[in-house]
């Protein structure tokens, strides 16, 4: 049964990904990214990570796609609505296919014998996040703060520049 769900979610993810890299209109690409993110949340649910599925929907489905749409709006998308693929795309396709072959071979050769899935409690996850991983957690909050302040500083319009 979970194989069926996995197949549906995988089709969502792959079609969304192809939409991101192949859509002619850049807004459609952003909406395809949303579809891929929702499919990824489904994959997380099948992988027995309910909390991460929620986080994925909130952060990626909500925040990231909205930020991308905002930046499309602010950078005048109608100017480059067409011709969004550069002229070396056949080389890029060959490189991506070779990488896919390499990864598929390495996946298929390395036989994974594990067949039983196990879930983890949200409370257990929170405990390990705040005991074993407390210092990286605080550092991550610092990284977020610095990144957001840096983003504001970069975007802010200087007064001297306008004159």
């Amino acid at each position: 049964m979970s194989v069926v769900f996995f197949t549906v979610a995988a089709i969502l993810v792959i079609s969304g990904g192809i939409g991101v890299v192949a859509a002619r209109n850049i807004v459609y690409a952003a909406l395809s990214l949303l579809i891929a993110m929702i499919g990824t949340a489904g994959i997380f649910l099948i992988g027995l990570a309910e909390f991460l599925a929620l986080v994925q929907l909130l952060i990626y489905g909500g925040a990231v796609v909205i930020v991308i749409l905002f930046s499309l709006m602010l950078t005048r998308i109608q100017d480059f609505e067409f011709l969004t693929t550069n002229k070396q795309w056949p080389i890029a396709l060959i490189v991506a296919m070779c990488l896919l072959g390499l990864l598929a071979i390495s996946v298929l050769v390395g036989d994974s014998t594990a067949t039983t899935m196990g879930s983890t409690d949200i409370s257990e996850l929170g405990l390990s996040l705040f005991s074993d991983w407390a210092i990286p957690f605080e550092l991550a909050s610092l990284v977020l703060l610095i990144a957001l302040i840096g983003a504001v500083v970069i975007v802010r319009r200087d007064n001297e520049e306008d004159k």
Binding site: S2, V13, I14, G17, I18, V20, V21, I26, A29, A30, L33, A36, T40, I43, F44, G47, A49, L52, Y60, V64, V67, I68, F70, L72, T75, D79, F80, T84, T85, Q88, W89, A92, V95, A96, M97, L99, L100, L103, A104, V107, L108, S112, A114, T115, T116, M117, S119, T120, L125, S128, L129, P136, A140, V143, L144, A147, G150, A151, I154, V155
Partner: protein, 104 residues
């Protein structure tokens, strides 16, 4: 369910992201392809975390790693969007093959 499904899906999504980074012109689309690659890594990690046979400590490790990846990806996205907006304001386009002022 087997681990190999997760691994194959992650490989396919990662290669789609690689193609997008190499083939797209707009910086915003390249950023979206990078988000796809980060998601492929997350799918791989969730597979390994779910099929771990070393007890719950390893499962927690996989999920904690995914939480950190999502955090760093959000920070990266905010900074990259700021740089793209600045680029648009200064150069009036965000196509990466026209931004060649460093070319000798």
């Amino acid at each position: 369910m087997e681990l190999i499904y997760f691994q194959l899906l992650a490989a396919i999504l990662f290669c789609i992201g690689v193609y997008g980074v190499l083939a797209r012109r707009s910086a915003v689309l390249i950023l979206m392809s990078i988000e796809l690659m980060l998601n492929a890594v997350n799918i791989n990690l969730i597979g390994y975390a779910a099929f771990s046979s070393f007890g719950s400590a390893h499962r927690n490790l996989g999920q904690v790693l995914i939480i950190f990846i999502i955090t760093i990806a959000a920070a990266e996205l905010a900074l990259a969007m700021a740089i793209i907006l600045r680029l648009y304001r200064n150069k009036n386009n965000v196509n990466v093959d026209e931004l060649d002022i460093l070319k000798g």
